[in-house]
């Protein structure tokens, strides 16, 4: 790890039992990187996410899953089988000293094991239990099956992705899971604040369906206010110079606001010897409307006129040339990046955004994204590399709970850990 600072994190002292699958595993990582003691609870053979790729150097192996790696930084790991009586006993012992329990099992699963919130709060009244499910703990869809795509679809999100008249599209980075994870984080920390003030824990019921509906909120507004169904957005812009333009080495997303920003664009064109008629005040006058009330600059033929001049001009510059000069003059050109561009971004390098995370089975140290936010008193940092399966069984079961080596061997052979 590049950061050897040992300062405490903002969630220092908070212990989390992380039983979460894909719907919640980012939430656990977020807290772990913020200093919480997050214990990943894996089945004896290892968490199923260890079977998900991509893999380090494409070596398919439970300790080389980059999916598991990304989502389990700063966590410790124990193995535990809740389907055994011994496993459940161990779990209850752990819960005694746990502040937050994070799980994504189907509604009723934990209850059926005798480990639902009503049972666990008897053991630890200060426990905050956060349950993330596709549809919540109650309701007609409670038992329905979901996935990242299916969840996004029902929540109104997918309908907004893609071009008008084309098939609704799925962003391929499991954004649905990511979104419900961070929603769960906000809800849980409200419960934590309440516990600080009032001493009691509670159950936090998080629904991926409702989370997605919050993303699609503006489509609900369109229906509520205008009885309009807003769907996938137009690929065509509503004013000249606004939108995505191809350039020498890729694309830029250009937003051309009136006043100094767009004036600088017009000046730049002049500098480059490009003839244009954009100094005509109608281009920037919202009151210059036609008899249908459409502004001059938004009339389709004028949009095309401006863009037909801009398109070849954009092609003479690279993304960074356009963005750097434009932004220095408040003209909002932003590069349309792929992952390589992101990793090579000089801004992120200057900010020390990326982190190198050493791992005993990965000779070439992996480099991953870093802090989603920065705290002045309690800096964000990766506290430890992602754990090996059950790496901390001894430390936690023996060291903290007092089990002997013989007992642990018995439990292992019995399939309880």
């Amino acid at each position: 790890m590049t950061n050897t600072d040992s300062s405490e994190g903002v969630l220092e002292g908070i212990r989390v039992l992380d039983l979460a699958g894909p719907m919640g595993v980012y939430c656990g990582k977020l807290w772990a990187d913020m200093g919480a003691d997050v214990i990943k609870v894996e089945p004896p053979a290892g968490d199923p996410m260890r079977s998900l790729g991509p893999f380090y150097k494409d070596e398919v192996h439970p300790e080389k899953s980059l999916y598991f790696f990304h989502y389990n930084t700063s966590k410790r790991s124990i193995t535990l089988n809740l389907n055994t009586a011994d496993g459940r006993e161990l779990f209850k012992k752990l819960v005694k000293d746990t502040d937050i329990l994070l799980e994504t099992f189907p509604p009723g699963y934990m209850n059926d094991l005798g480990l639902g919130y009503t049972q666990l709060k008897e053991i630890n009244p200060r426990l905050i239990m956060t349950s993330i499910t596709p549809f919540g703990q109650t309701g007609p869809y409670r038992e329905y099956k979901s996935s990242d795509l299916v969840g996004q679809a029902l929540s109104g999100w997918t309908n907004t992705v893609g071009n008008v008249g084309e098939r609704p599209t799925w962003p391929a980075v499991e954004l649905g899971y990511h979104h419900v994870s961070i929603s769960a984080s906000a809800g849980t920390l409200i419960a934590l604040y309440h516990r600080d003030m009032a001493g009691e824990g509670q159950h936090v019921d998080v629904s991926m369906h409702e989370a997605g509906a919050m993303v699609a909120a503006s489509t609900v507004q369109s229906w509520d206010v205008r009885q309009e169904i807003t769907s996938r957005r137009q690929a065509t812009p509503n004013r000249g110079g606004w939108g995505i333009f191809q350039c020498k080495d890729g694309y830029v997303y250009s937003v051309t606001r009136d006043g100094p920003p767009i004036n600088f664009l017009f000046k730049w064109l002049n500098e480059d010897g490009i003839e244009h008629d954009f100094w005509d005040p109608r281009w920037q006058d919202p009151a210059a409307v036609d008899d249908q009330g459409v502004a001059f600059r938004s009339q389709p033929e004028n949009i095309e006129h401006m863009n037909s001049i801009l398109r070849p001009w954009f092609m003479t510059y690279t993304m960074l040339e356009l963005a750097e000069r434009g932004q220095d003059h408040h003209l909002s050109f932003i590069p349309y990046n792929n992952i390589k561009d992101v990793v090579d971004d000089p801004q992120l390098e200057a900010r020390n955004f990326f982190v190198d995370i050493e791992h005993p089975l990965m000779k070439d140290t992996p480099r991953d994204g870093g802090a989603p936010f920065n705290f002045s008193e309690t800096p964000w940092r990766i506290r430890r590399r992602p754990p090996l399966i059950g790496e901390h069984n001894l430390e936690i079961y023996a060291g903290e709970l007092g089990y002997t080596v013989e007992q642990l061997a018995l439990l292992k052979a019995a399939g309880a850990i």
Binding site: L11, G156, Q221, I334, Y336, N338, F375
Partner: protein, 406 residues
């Protein structure tokens, strides 16, 4: 009636537009007193962003403003007036959090940077949400949500390989990454302050937060040299996985099949057609190898049915499937959202009503909820200046005449 969990917390809220206001909304709905500070020179222009965000008759605010600002208060304060600046500092001195999402350096230029604020209240928590972070060659860049997601690589990874990538839906930084990370940060800072008495300065770069939504893409590139790109609606883990046309105009159903069990469920729902019994479709690898044909055949089946029927018949067989719902479906046709009271109707003083989502988490002991309409322009001037800051009637009238409250 249970107490709201964030009662007693006050936020001096300089956020505007989407990303930042969405963050303070979360705390406002759970009881925090969030005071939006606006002026004629710097209003929250979401209020009147017609026609992009329409204003419903009888409400006085745009639908977007309604969604983002329920349960908050609003005041007007002319920060260029010396008395205005003095009053805002007095308000900050009795607040717990100061929040903004303006471009880098804006608060500093107004004399309200962290170094100044910590003199007013040593344990103040300040959160800035600029586009880029402080430091680095691009820290002054501006951009709106769509541009930020494009810069973060999300557009490149969404859509079809033979076409330009598209945005990941809605304006994701505004409705997902920034607000929930910012709320997480504010709440964690409050917890830390409870523990230690210390406040802190939080900086959330919207660009960097967006990059943290990329899952494994960074590792796959840095470790394996692979540039992850667009795969349409397909998943590497199973087939069929995608969005399929159904009966009606722009009606679709999403289906995700991974296991053999789910495949058999899909076959049963389709009535075990001859083609589904071909050995090449029997295995997960086989389905993936023949995915083009498989999807074509599945879509032939879905095209003859309504999306609702496809969803129902597949869910009955234990297969993940869902109607690709639109705004009307969410508000009017979704029994699950109805059952959990997801949409709350907020009534405005002029008599109009608008719906707003109650968010996605329900706290068992201390639930929150949008409980008040989004505030009208300067609606709480009297309350904040007379009751919180103790201006006398005469002072209040004098400041009003002097243009301090505009």
């Amino acid at each position: 009636m249970s107490k709201l969990p964030m009662e007693g917390i006050r936020i001096a809220d300089f956020t505007w537009w989407l990303a930042g206001t969405n963050a303070t909304r979360i705390l406002a709905n759970h009881g925090a007193e969030v005071i939006k500070i606006e002026s004629k020179a710097h209003p929250d222009t979401t209020r009147n962003a017609n026609p992009a965000l329409p204003v419903k008759p009888g409400t006085g605010v745009s639908s977007g403003f309604n969604v983002l600002n329920p349960s908050k208060l609003a005041i007007n304060l002319n920060l260029k007036h010396p008395k205005g600046l003095e009053l805002v500092k007095r308000l900050i001195a009795v607040s717990d959090i100061v929040s903004d999402n303006m471009s880098g350096g804006a608060m500093e230029r107004a004399g309200l940077g962290y170094e100044e604020l910590v003199k007013l209240k040593p344990d103040i928590i300040v959160i800035n949400m600029p586009v880029m972070g402080p430091g680095g060659p691009h820290s002054h860049w501006t951009g709106q949500g769509d541009q930020i997601t494009a810069a973060a690589g999300l557009w490149h990874m969404t859509g079809y390989p033979d076409k330009l990538g598209v945005g990941p839906g809605s304006v994701l930084t505004d409705w997902s990454g920034v607000p929930y990370h910012a709320a997480t940060a504010m709440l964690a800072a409050l917890h830390y302050r409870n523990k230690t008495g210390k406040g802190q300065h939080i900086v959330l770069s919207q660009y960097e937060t967006a990059i943290d939504s990329l899952g494994t893409a960074i590792l796959d590139y840095t470790t394996n040299g692979r540039v992850q790109t667009r795969t349409g609606n397909r998943s590497p883990y199973g087939a069929p996985h995608g969005v399929y046309r159904c009966q009606g105009d722009d009606r679709w159903c999403a289906i995700a099949v991974f296991s053999d069990q789910e495949w058999q469920g899909l076959c049963r729902a389709m009535g075990d057609p001859e083609w589904s019994r071909e050995p090449k479709f029997n295995t997960a690898l086989g389905r993936m190898d023949n995915v083009d044909e498989l999807e074509r055949l599945v879509e032939e089946w879905t095209s003859e049915r309504s999306a609702e029927e496809v969803m129902r018949s597949l869910q009955e067989q234990g297969v993940a499937a869902a109607v690709v719902q639109n705004g009307r479906d969410l508000l009017e046709n979704d029994p699950q959202l109805k059952a959990v009271d997801h949409f709350v109707s907020l009534r405005y003083p002029e008599g109009g009503e608008m719906f707003v989502g109650a968010d996605s988490f329900k706290l068992s002991a201390t639930p929150g909820r949008p409980r008040m309409h989004a505030p009208l322009w300067g609606e709480h001037n009297e309350y904040v200046f007379r009751e919180i800051l103790h201006l006398s009637e005469e002072e209040y009238a004098e400041y009003e005449r002097d243009g301090v409250f505009e």
